[in-house]
């Protein structure tokens, strides 16, 4: 194997130096601010999905993942696949805050000749492990990575973040089956259950949380994943303590020889009053007034000071 020696002899990156929950919450607020104003500035982009996953991604990059911004392609780094690639700006914001590239570079998002494409491009962006954008493909890539790591005896974990609407893609279910068949305990899927997709179905009064139907309110996702032989952890995707606990549980049960899924209950557009809980902000461009509101709500002025 060409990179065999390289990999086996290379050191495994360490976790981020202990970062307090308060610090992660502050980081998440900055990330949310970057999401909103970067998209406003580039006049195109997704908002609701990036905002719902922000806390999960911050928890991964600032606490869980064994990665090294100075050495983005370390062979033994943990891998992260943003299967819901349309939420790229959310990932870019966190990568920038984590030091993969200057925060100022976010301003090039969606502009021509940028390293920050509308959907993640592994060939352009430091820290992006897999190119995504066409939904439903990331988990298969993650299965291939986790299976390859097992075959080569490489010790790292692969994380794949999916959208709840994205779970409607059949290819995801092909991968769910393969992960179980190959007992990939080094693979963790996280589903951003933010309750909305782009258009979807009319909301059912009393059943759905927001202004359109929940992608999965008519089924029992936990029972389905368990039936497929996965370990399932339910968590509030906006509670850092709970998220970190879920990550730990996943790691500790790795010996069970089963892949794990974290069903993270979130809110689409979380963190900003006017984007919260509405499919209308799946994507959108905030105006001056809205930017000011968000800036205040996210406490960006204090940060600035």
């Amino acid at each position: 194997m060409k990179t065999e020696e390289a990999a086996s002899t290379s050191r495994r990156p360490a976790k981020a130096p202990g970062c307090s929950i308060a610090e992660m919450q502050a980081t998440a607020r900055s990330a949310r601010w970057h999401i909103l104003h970067t998209v406003a500035n580039s006049k195109a982009g997704h908002i609701g999905g990036p905002l719902s996953m922000t806390d999960l991604v911050v928890a991964l990059y600032f606490s869980e993942l064994r990665i090294d911004p100075e050495w983005p392609d370390a062979p033994l780094r943990d891998r992260f696949v943003l299967s819901k690639g349309h939420s790229a700006i959310g990932l870019y914001s966190v990568l920038a805050l984590r030091g993969y590239f200057p925060v100022s570079e976010l301003a090039t998002f969606d502009h021509g000749n940028s390293r920050l494409q509308g959907h993640p491009d592994m060939k352009l962006t430091p820290g992006v492990d897999v190119s995504t954008g066409s939904l439903g493909q990331g988990l298969s890539a993650g299965v291939g990575i986790a299976l390859g790591a097992k075959m080569r005896g490489l010790d790292f974990r692969t994380w794949v973040l999916l959208g709840d609407g994205e779970l409607q893609e059949g290819m995801v279910w092909e991968a769910i089956n393969s992960a179980a068949r190959y007992g990939l305990s080094n693979l963790t899927a996280i589903v951003d259950l933010n309750g909305l997709q782009q258009f979807g179905w009319p909301r059912v009064e009393g059943r759905d949380r927001f202004d359109r139907s929940e992608p999965w309110s008519h089924v029992d996702l936990e029972a389905i994943f368990r039936g497929f032989g996965w370990n399932v952890v339910q968590v509030d995707g906006h509670d850092f303590a709970a998220i970190l606990a879920a990550f730990e549980e996943v790691r500790e049960r790795a010996d069970e020889g089963r892949p794990a899924v974290i069903l993270a209950r979130t809110v689409k557009g979380e963190g900003i009053s006017f984007t919260r809980g509405t499919y209308k902000w799946h994507n959108g461009v905030a105006d001056e007034q809205q930017l000011a509101t968000a800036r205040a709500e996210l406490g960006m002025d204090e940060v600035a000071r």
Binding site: H111, G112, G118, D121, G170, F199
Partner: protein, 315 residues
């Protein structure tokens, strides 16, 4: 000028009144493709499938067996790539009247970048037996084609652009399948285009005229079945033909024209302008058209270069 997707959605909302067999099957993109205009008017004939393009095709096929004639609503790239196998077996091989609306075609899709751009749809759908492939030039033709395809029995793929372009046709224009149109006569070279690129090619011809280059402009809305006679009539006695498409130069309009010319008009030279076997990127429309050589100015430049260099080679 309205955007083609708007026209498509509005036209379906109108046709739904008189045609009870009209149903729209959506892949969670109705508010982008504008199928939501139909959904609001006929919720009981709007079938949301969610993010599952293969399933959309299977469901549309099933509805067709009961007398419905569905239009599919999603981005073209997810029909021509994600759902190609069901389209092949359940639509083309059965002759089902399932109408495929390939929205957000070409490069201009609101900065989504290469995972959402479809620069191969014409080549892919042209290769599929029994598939009708149409790329209207503007809002007027988009409406005419939407009406025609809604009446047509059999599989149809129509390419629709996200954003409005300069008008090409007058109100009341009648779409005749297969017919190619000479939009502008010119002695020096025949520029052949399709879809909304035709609008930019007309502007390129204006620019060329200002530089003293007299270029004809021919529009080919029906890529398949291609009416070779109509195309040859339009090409007339031109010795140099340059195809221009918001698509790969392999197998699309340039390929179709080359096939006809190489067989029927030895002596005519065909150059092809379009994407040179490359993926594109995210960016504003003007940036992309300029960088990838499809803006009217860049097209005019390339035409001048091609006319300048005898037997020039497109990479």
């Amino acid at each position: 000028m309205r955007a083609q997707r708007e026209v498509w959605g509005e036209t379906l909302a109108l046709l739904g009144e008189s045609d009870p067999t009209l149903v729209v099957v959506d892949g969670d993109l109705a508010n982008s493709t504008k199928a939501d205009l139909f959904a609001r008017r006929f919720p009981e004939r709007f079938v949301e499938v969610g993010i599952a393009e293969q399933n959309m095709v299977g469901i549309a096929f099933g509805l067709w067996t009961l007398g419905y004639r569905p239009w599919l609503s999603t981005f073209g790239v997810f029909l021509t790539h994600r759902a190609l196998d069901p389209i092949r077996m359940l639509v083309s091989q059965t002759g089902a009247s399932v109408r495929l609306a390939g929205s957000y075609s070409g490069l201009l899709n609101g900065s989504s970048g290469k995972t959402h751009q479809d620069v191969e749809d014409l080549a892919i759908m042209r290769a599929m037996p029994h598939m009708t492939v149409i790329a209207p030039a503007d809002d007027i033709e988009a409406e005419a084609v939407t009406r025609w395809a809604s009446d047509h029995e059999g599989p149809v793929y129509v390419r629709f652009a996200r954003d409005a372009v300069g008008r090409v046709f007058p109100e009341g224009y009648e779409f005749i399948p297969g017919r190619t149109l000479v939009l502008r006569t010119g002695a020096e070279v025949a520029l052949v285009s399709t879809g909304v690129q035709t609008s930019r090619v007309l502007e390129a011809a204006e620019a060329l005229a200002r530089q003293g280059v007299d270029a004809a402009v021919i529009h080919v809305p029906t890529l398949k079945p291609l009416d070779a006679e109509s195309l040859l009539d339009s090409l007339g006695e031109h010795s140099t033909v340059i195809t221009v498409e918001e698509h790969s130069v392999l197998g699309g309009l340039g390929g179709a024209v080359s096939e006809v010319v190489a067989e029927r008009r030895p002596g005519m030279t065909v150059h092809r302008i379009g994407l040179l076997d490359e993926w594109s990127e995210s960016g504003p429309n003007a940036f992309l058209l300029d960088k990838y050589g499809l803006s009217s100015m860049r097209v005019a430049e390339q035409v001048v270069d091609l006319l300048g260099t005898a037997g020039a080679t497109a990479p």
